[in-house]
Subunit: 388 residues, 2 copies
DNA sequence: CCAAAAATGTTTCTGAACTGAACATATCGG
DNA sequence: CCGATATGTTCAGTTCAGAAACATTTTTGG
């Protein structure tokens, strides 16, 4: 029943958050630009910027040469001194990187596996990497950990319900990592976090209503942005397009499938680059037919979600992007055919742009979410125990 | 880029809005209850309640006998003095009612038509009804008009793109009504407004993630609530489940259809009550088969949306509720079969409860939205021109 | 090279809004 | 009737944004 906005102090929190978010999402801004962007008084922006600098969330730098009349305005930039650890355990490898508020990635490492990592191994890897922070990145402050898991994650407590490709079932990952490291931990579904990344920094920038679908070797995952906010649903399991039954009665990720494309091409396995090249080069009628079939089914599924959610952009990643890009305007037309006319007017279908950075950026963004929402709340507790 | 929370005055607005919303949605509350519900100081609640009373949005009444120790706390109740006009033009009749902030309906009238009303007739009817306010409901203050239209409505300017059953195409209804009456006007899709009504006062109370589907004579419409907020989508066309292609390849509202039920039953037309009775009473195998077929298709569609949105409740209205209610636990099981297991855990499927009041309540709620969000903003301008 | 204009930083004061403490009031229970 | 309890009421204290006045830095134009 109680939302926000109690005392006057909440105003300060909100305004700090607004300024921090602006520089985090749009990069360095002069104080005068922030004044215009927020509508706040320039004296207020002055104190806000100073406070954020004190909290080591931004740096206030020398003004840049602007060749314009008037006193130069200092730049307010997100700092790389405050970082989170972004983690993405996958079947063949686990990626980790420290990501700064300025989005720079430090100490990006990729640990190859011969078999999927166990939860215990993953926790140990994260913990070890955290310990290496002091030596590898002196002067950096770690304020949280974000983990992108390819599976269903309960949002409330970062509990991995089922990650079939990793073989993880009912793993209290957030709690395990938090206990091992002492840092606040956020665990999320990989596609959901990918959607967040594309929304904040990628193909869906500036769009308030976004549908994101990613096609990978293990299936189709997705994420939604509604009213500019990521949608987890009641428990955090939203975005599971892959398990929908499509118009042909099949499960979507069975009928629209990277594996089936490879089979038709006669390839055993291939990277996305190889697959894309093979698809672009082929003239074999059975391959073209399979591509077209998958395009049709995918288009109908996208049309359905467009009818229901009326997004302004649908972002496709992985091999789904390849299917669409083969003849983008035609693909959009096929989707539009099944969408109510007005819905189709404002709808754009586009490809994801963040490539392999996407999941780490998304995981980092999730880990930063708390500071971004309340800059005062987190920063004061350096090695604090997690909220869980 | 600028959201909210500029000055300290915004705090007052937010807190007024919070208190007003609580009494609007939950009915009369004592000031001490409001203190607990909001977490605000009791002196603050005192001034907030007084301000809202001054604005004629609430009434502060004598304390009720509570048989408890301590000084009795005055009741803060939503007032019926401040009303909106809720309107629902339909093929066979147009319904209008003045609805108070306490949700009481005054002067509820139903104007029968022999043919669908034209926009001009509807505007005239609304305008006339507004004029009758002074004589019929002296002492009441009209602060807005909400119109529920069975068709696609552009949210930004209340522009009716296409209302096929009324035969309306590209009608600037909000502007027409606003010009004719001088009051702020909100126009919305009927099913979207129905979803809002069920969320605030009906079967979806307290749920933050809701899918609402209504089955009527003219097809299937729907609405979504995500994060506790109604979802309009990029342009306001969200919720059009009816035009999705279902698992059988047909358009949902073609294959799951009230008309087809009636045909199978051998009825020409029937009210919902008659249809429900006929369905309940039938033992004819072809009718049972048709019911089962529609249930299966509907269940698969609901499963799809549950996978994508992970709602905590799906609310069904009209004949869709009849289909489900025939064997509710079995229907839920069929849906759950196609839903990822964790999604299904928290999912409830239930029937709408507001019945024929739903659309007028939803239209009223939309018209109240502005005051509820900013009690200071609206009330000071009695006959003000609309924002459009 | 210097003065005016322009834009922004900085300082100080004011007003708005909530909190908390002290006091007042109303009800219940014995 | 009195004490305990809960709440209303009043008032001083704190926080914060805004506004105004002044200071600073740069460009522009002679």
């Amino acid at each position: 029943m109680s939302d926000r906005a109690l005392g006057v102090e909440q105003v300060r929190r909100d305004n700090l958050a607004r300024v921090l978010r602006i520089v985090h999402e749009n990069g360095p801004q002069s104080r005068s630009e922030l004044t215009r962007a927020t509508g706040l008084n320039r004296s207020t922006i002055g104190t806000l910027a100073a406070d954020l600098a004190e909290l080591q969330l931004v740096e206030v730098r020398e003004p840049v040469l602007t060749r314009r009349v008037g006193r130069p305005s200092p730049m307010v930039a997100p700092t790389d001194r405050t970082v989170v650890l972004a983690v993405n355990p996958e079947v063949d490898a686990t990626e980790l990187a420290f990501v700064g508020l300025d989005l720079t990635m430090h100490h990006h490492i990729r640990v190859e596996h011969t078999r999927p990592p166990t939860p215990a191994e993953t926790v140990a890897l994260i913990s070890d990497t955290c310990d290496s922070l002091a030596s590898d990145l002196p002067g950096r402050r770690l304020i949280g950990i974000g983990v992108a898991v390819p599976g269903l994650v309960r949002a409330a407590d970062g509990f991995v319900r089922d990650a079939p490709h990793l073989g993880w079932v009912e793993v209290p990952l957030q709690q395990l990592v938090a206990s091992a490291t002492g840092h606040p931990v956020v665990v999320g579904n990989d596609a959901n976090l990918g959607a967040i990344a594309e929304h904040v920094f990628g193909a869906a920038r500036g769009h308030d209503h976004v549908v994101y679908l990613n096609g990978g070797a293990s299936g189709i995952g997705g994420g939604l942005i509604v009213h500019g906010m990521p949608v987890g649903g009641a428990s955090g399991y939203a975005g599971e397009f892959g398990h929908n039954r499509a118009v042909d009665g099949e499960v979507l990720e069975t009928t629209v499938s990277r594996t089936r494309l490879l089979e038709t091409l006669g390839l055993a396995s291939a990277s996305d680059a190889v697959l894309a090249a093979a698809l672009a080069g082929t003239t074999a009628p059975e391959v073209l037919a399979e591509i077209d079939r998958q395009r049709q089914v995918l288009a109908a599924s996208l049309a359905n979600v467009a009818n229901v959610l009326d997004p302004s952009v649908i972002v496709l990643g992985g091999f789904l992007a390849m299917l669409a890009e083969r003849a983008p305007e035609d693909f959009t037309a096929v989707v539009a055919e099944h969408v109510m006319a007005p819905n189709a007017e404002d709808l754009r279908i586009t490809s994801a742009v963040l490539a392999e950075r996407r999941l780490l950026v998304g995981a980092a963004e999730a880990a930063f979410a708390e500071v971004l929402a309340d800059p005062l709340g987190v920063s004061l507790t350096p090695g604090a125990l997690p909220t869980a």
